[in-house]
């Protein structure tokens, strides 16, 4: 049996299936949802396993995604952390980049550093950008620092020395010395997590990693023990932000790589679905209660970046973490986003969210302002009888009260205001979708929109209309889609290293040497590690390239192995093309590599989902009734309501209609056709 569990902010999801030994086909797909248990997340996981009636002894494979890292960071519940830097640079962490994104706010407050100044200490050591060690570290100089840290109750230590991305010797010496002298403390050296230059970003990365290390380690060990005790005989795998899974040992060594594992597994799920269905250009869209996230996928390849920040916003620089993360654009618009009117008379939606508590006005739990969900209810798009899966009866009086001030100010009726709210929420989401597509030179008309999460199906068709996308796919079990994605991933580690090398013929051998050395490191990192030994390993090469003199780079995929003059010439041309697509112009200038990027993949056996039986029912058999629904510019219609559980492969039906399932509602405007594929995924054809 293959099992995935995804610990989210509210729910812990489980997806599992068996593989028929004879046919190799998936049988008995099951899902379960339980409450997430703070702060002992592993209890929720074991609860979900119990709720699904599963016996861990029967598991062949167990993948796990968790919010333990992002939760420790956002709630500031990590370890008391000390930082040791090169002499002269302990304040780099607090100076940060000095920027003030809230430009005109002259009372702007910088983010507080995770390590206060008295726990930031310096040692005499120095390397150059060329990788020479100018001053060798004398480890004994660490003794007084460690004594002070012990006295202060420090639980984790981050090390970041200048130029350690190219010359890690002093960091290694310091780390090994501290480990020997103080085995119980967590020690993270910056180069273990990031081999890219820019000392503030690397320092921040090392500090945040150290900060979460004790909690992540405790959590993963506990989970492993619980699973062992329950009879699971193999090593669990942990979901990473790069869209792959890693071993428990790998995750403990580099816990920060789990920071965006939830969103990453959803995108991976979309990529896997694309492969299954032969869709090579996909935009994945996940609409939740508070935010909408989107990401672009081409040929099953997700875009990876190390320019990631937590708590970043238009007015907050946030904290950088240089770990490979799937490129995701996230905006503050979800089902719970609150609508209002500002002092200048402008109607806005989000980013403030009513969350789960008090929740939308319709919950009747104290919410006094209208949300996107309330607007969807008013327009008839959400079925009042199936609100929150039928768990509560919407408080429509409270919804009217919440809309009243807006209806008054905008001189309309509740219907027009509700349509306006949805239209603005959709426009916000369209902007996010443009950021991942048009903004990078991709035409959305060539892409299929794969929408999931609680609100994905509700908005997807209208968003696709706006962007003239030809097709929308709403996957099966779209509300536990992220957990399913984990069952479709490979073991993956990304290795990124800054080495500035001109792309010139005479450097081809050197470039090959650097890649080969990195691949050696990548392969060695898996050796003797539980869970990785028996997997077939393969590597992929990428390089971050730029025009000589530019700073920002463009990631270019390279062929595996044998970097020679021909590959070099092709790489340069590929860079020009990518640069021109993303930024509209190319220059007649030399091109250089700034970062080498190697991806090591261990192929995990994967299985196509089960095909659903066909009984010969017609769409009419799946209809549960008619409802008056306001489709905005498409008019008000008596829409057919379909019950998704009763749909089966081969069915086709046209909008205007609504397809309802327990945790999601698909809204289909007139003129669109819905087709159910062999697996039960819904394909909304926009032009037929």
């Amino acid at each position: 049996m293959r099992v995935a569990t995804d610990v989210g902010g509210t729910f812990t999801d489980l997806v599992c299936y068996d593989v028929d030994k004879q046919s190799g086909r998936v049988v008995g797909l099951r899902t379960a949802k339980t409450d997430t248990t703070y702060p002992q997340f592993d209890e929720g996981v074991m609860n979900a396993i119990a709720k699904a009636g599963l016996d861990p002894a029967a598991f062949d494979f167990f993948a796990h995604g968790t919010t333990v890292v992002i939760n420790a960071l956002l709630s500031r519940k990590g370890a008391k952390t000390g930082l040791i830097t090169t002499k002269g640079f302990r304040d780099v962490l607090e100076i940060a980049r000095g920027n003030r994104p809230d430009l005109f706010n002259l009372a702007f407050k910088k983010p507080e550093p995770f390590v206060p100044r008295y726990l930031r200490r310096e040692v005499d050591e120095r390397s150059t950008y060329l990788g020479e060690v100018l001053t060798v570290l004398d480890p004994a100089t660490l003794d007084p620092i460690l004594a002070d840290f012990r006295a202060e109750g420090v639980e984790a230590i981050a090390l970041c020395f200048l130029h350690a991305y190219v010359s890690p010797a002093n960091e290694i010496a310091a780390r090994d010395y501290i480990r020997a002298a103080w085995p119980n403390v967590s020690v993270i050296a910056s180069h273990e997590i990031s081999r890219e230059w820019r000392e503030y970003e690397r320092t921040s990365t090392a500090v945040l990693t150290a900060y979460v290390h004790p909690a992540a380690k405790r959590y993963l060990r506990t989970l492993q023990t619980s699973l062992d005790a329950a009879g699971y005989g193999h090593a669990p795998y942990i979901m990473q932000s790069n869209g792959g899974i890693d071993t428990v040992e790998g995750a403990i060594r580099n816990p920060i790589a789990m920071v965006e594992s939830g969103p990453a597994s959803g995108v991976l799920g979309a990529a896997a679905l694309g492969t299954l269905l032969g869709e090579d250009k996909i935009i994945a869209l996940d609409i939740g209660g508070t935010t909408a996230k989107c990401s672009l996928i081409e040929n099953a390849q997700t875009r990876i970046t190390t320019e990631y920040r937590i708590e970043w916003s238009r007015t907050n620089p946030g904290y950088p973490i240089r770990t490979p993360v799937i490129e995701i654009v996230e905006i503050g618009n979800g089902g719970g986003s609150i609508a209002g009117i500002d002092a200048g008379g402008r109607l806005y939606v989000g980013p403030e969210s009513a969350g789960a508590s008090p929740g939308p006005a319709a919950y009747g739990r104290g919410g006094t302002r209208p949300t996107t969900t309330d607007a969807n209810l008013v327009t008839g798009r959400i079925n009042p009888a199936n609100f929150l899966g039928g768990e509560i009866t919407p408080d429509l009086d409270n919804v009217h009260r919440a809309f009243a001030p807006l209806v008054d100010r905008l001189d309309g009726d509740i219907g027009s205001v509700a349509r306006g709210i949805i239209r603005i929420a959709n426009a916000n989401m369209v902007n996010a979708l443009k950021l991942v597509s048009l903004n990078k030179g991709h035409d959305p008309r060539d892409f299929t929109l794969v929408a999931y999460g609680g609100g994905g199906a509700m908005h997807a068709v209208m968003l696709a209309e706006e962007l003239q996308m030809p097709k929308v796919i709403i996957p099966v079990n779209s509300s536990v889609f992220s957990a399913w994605g984990m069952l479709m991933t490979d073991l993956r580690r990304d290795f990124v290293r800054t080495q500035v090398v001109l792309l010139a013929g005479e450097n081809a051998a050197r470039i090959e040497e650097i890649f080969a050395a990195m691949e050696g490191t990548a392969r060695a990192s898996f050796a003797d590690e539980a869970g990785s030994g028996d997997l077939a390993l393969r590597v992929q090469r990428y390089a971050d390239m730029r025009y000589l003199g530019q700073e920002h780079s463009v990631k270019v995929e390279l062929p595996d192995g044998g970097f020679d003059a021909a590959v070099l010439a092709a790489a340069i041309e590929r860079f020009h093309v990518t640069h021109e697509r993303e930024y509209t112009f190319r220059l007649q200038l030399p091109v250089e590599i700034v970062n080498f990027h190697v991806v090591a993949l261990g192929d995990v056996p994967k299985h196509d989902p089960e095909k659903l039986p066909v009984t010969g029912r017609t769409p009419d058999d799946a209809m549960s009734g008619l409802r008056t629904v306001d489709f905005d510019e498409h008019g008000v219609h008596e829409a057919r309501i379909y019950d998704r559980d009763r749909l089966e492969p081969g069915m086709r039906f046209a909008g205007p209609c609504i397809v309802e399932e327990a945790a999601a509602t698909l809204v289909v405007t007139p003129g669109r056709t819905v087709a159910v594929d062999d697996y039960g995924n819904l394909h909304v054809h926009m032009n037929a």
Partner: protein, 556 residues
């Protein structure tokens, strides 16, 4: 057909988003750190009349440069503006003007053969020629020493690059590869805006977009009027001294009278010093930017900037003052004086808007130029960068430490690891200092010390560190901050201290130490809570001696 209010809302948001997208394109494709790290540039779109619709920017001081640049294009080219044109110019005394280093590029946008908008960007080029590398000095006496002057002309004429014009520019500047790269980045950024604006017109139609645009401007005005209503009414005064003009030693007196009524914000700088021989002069466009900047800060900092939001502003200032200099006054360090205009208003109003303004900050952007040959590659390099420093304490809050001056904004310091690789100097420290100043119940934020050790004999350093003699002001009983200064510590141990310095030669082993101000203190230091003082001592932000002397000790 009348367009409904929600669609107008969506068009307005899309117009504002265009500024952001232009900004990203420019930053990502630029060739020079002054643009991609310091983000010393601004992009925006105006309507066909030059009214600012949306602006995306990295610094705060370019708020009047986009619209005024377009006004000059309209005046000069009128009916000769064609599809496919791109205009270029850097005249500091007229529209768009700051100093010669900032080149403007404007692309007219047509829809159905009608001029509907302009996309504009204004960016600091690494070098525009003139007497010294980096093109700014603290001792020029005429504009002719400060670089190439480019009155507005077409660099691209109906889609065809005017190579003759480009050749003139290339022949006059030191590092043309970077600057020409940046020019193309600017053209690309304008191109992004052109596409997006056309898409809007195609989708929603001429009338709807123009209606949305007018509403957007009215919205800007409504938002600031709402804020204006909450400001105290009456007249407010401040005066101050600028250290010197870089040539002489004489301080320059500057002053402001602010009058706030229900619908007007009048800034009158009458009485301020006449324009000077040295290059600290600021032009009238710069003065407009200064007033817009501080007006935005005290009304609503988050509202997107547009012409409507500046309608309540009126500026009074005679010609040929240090704030309104005219040809041929040198202007290359104009920002020092521009920021005094901001700071005067700040000082006059800080007691009245305590949640938005605290005590005085570093003020000077503390810009430095290092030019010389790279120790490892031998190639000539120019490093231009502003520095971070301390901000003033405020009501209920300590000042911010290590943050760029108000003139900057989404500005990033250059990482040490990149400085060492790219310029071949060795950086000894980048740290907070404890130079005395900024004491208060809420103390000033800390300035930094940044040491560059030379590895070759041929570097020259230029730096403009205003508020060297007259440091950041304290308020409500807090003390003044510490001064900005640039020291040169020679290999032989001799030590020079500068406020402004141009082209100082430094040799192998010499250290250039850049020290930025600690901000002004707020409130009587004796009232600072003891727990905060204990933290300051533990963290090394104050010395035991400073706590004893200014704060009455830690108590028992």
């Amino acid at each position: 057909m009348k367009t409904d209010p929600y669609t107008l809302e969506i068009i307005k948001n899309a117009l504002v988003a265009i500024g952001d997208e232009m900004f990203q394109t420019m930053a990502r494709t630029s060739m020079s750190p002054i643009i991609y790290e310091a983000l010393d540039f601004s992009v925006g779109i105006t309507d066909a009349r030059g009214e600012l619709i949306a602006q995306g920017q990295g610094t705060t001081v370019l708020l009047a440069m986009i619209d005024s640049f377009v006004h000059d294009i309209l005046e000069k080219f009128g009916n000769a503006i064609r599809p496919g044109d791109v205009f270029i110019g850097n005249d500091p005394y007229r529209g768009g003007g700051t100093h010669l280093s900032d080149f403007g590029l404007a692309t007219p946008i047509f829809h159905d053969d009608t001029l509907v908008a302009f996309a504009v960007n204004k960016a600091h080029w690494l070098d525009v020629g003139g007497a010294v590398p980096g093109s700014f000095s603290t001792n020029a006496t005429e504009i002719f020493q400060e670089g190439i002057q480019m009155p507005i002309c077409k660099i691209i004429d109906q889609g065809v690059l005017r190579q003759d014009i480009l050749d003139i520019i290339i022949a006059n500047i030191r590092v043309p590869q970077e600057s020409v790269g940046d020019m193309w980045a600017g053209v690309a950024a304008n191109g992004v805006a052109e596409r997006r604006v056309r898409e809007l017109f195609d989708k929603y139609g001429h009338e709807a977009v123009l209606t949305a645009k007018e509403e957007l401007l009215d919205y800007g005005e409504a938002m600031v009027k709402h804020e204006l209503a909450g400001l105290p009414k009456g007249e407010f005064f401040a005066e101050d001294l600028i250290d010197d003009d870089g040539l002489g030693d004489t301080p320059l007196k500057v002053m402001v009278k602010i009058t706030i009524t229900d619908d007007k914000f009048v800034a009158d700088f009458t009485g301020s010093a006449p324009q000077t021989m040295g290059p600290i002069n600021n032009s009238r466009t710069g003065l407009t930017s200064a007033v817009r900047l501080i007006f935005k800060a005290i009304t609503n900092p988050q509202v997107p900037a547009n012409s409507g939001s500046f309608r309540p502003i009126e500026i009074v200032c005679p010609d040929r003052t240090v704030f309104t200099a005219e040809r041929p006054a040198p202007v290359s360090t104009y920002w020092e004086t521009l920021m005094y205009a901001v700071d005067l208003i700040w000082r006059a109003l800080a007691p009245h808007v305590p949640e938005r303004l605290g005590a005085g900050h570093m003020l000077s952007v503390c810009s430095v130029v290092f030019a010389g040959s790279h120790a490892d590659t031998g190639k000539s390099t120019i490093l231009v960068q502003p520095l971070v420093g301390g901000w003033g304490g405020g009501d209920g809050r300590d000042g911010q430490s290590g943050q760029f001056a108000a003139a900057d904004g989404e500005t990033y310091n250059v990482p040490i690891e990149i400085t060492e690789a790219r310029y071949g100097v060795l950086v000894d420290q980048y740290a907070f200092h404890t130079e005395d100043g900024g004491h208060g119940e809420h103390r000033g934020g800390k300035g930094v010390v940044l040491d560059y050790r030379m590895r070759t004999d041929d570097f020259a350093v230029t730096g403009s560190f205003g508020r060297f003699k007259y440091p950041a002001w304290g308020m409500a009983g807090g003390s003044d901050g510490s001064p900005n200064h640039l020291d040169i510590i020679r290999a032989d141990g001799s030590h020079e201290v500068h406020g402004k310095v141009t082209g100082a030669k430094v040799a192998k082993g010499d250290v250039v130490r850049m020290i930025t101000a600690t901000g002004g203190g707020w409130g009587d230091p004796k009232r600072r809570c003891k727990a905060a003082l204990r933290e300051d001592l533990r963290n090394g932000f104050l010395t035991a001696e400073q706590i004893e002397r200014h704060y009455g000790g830690l108590g028992d």
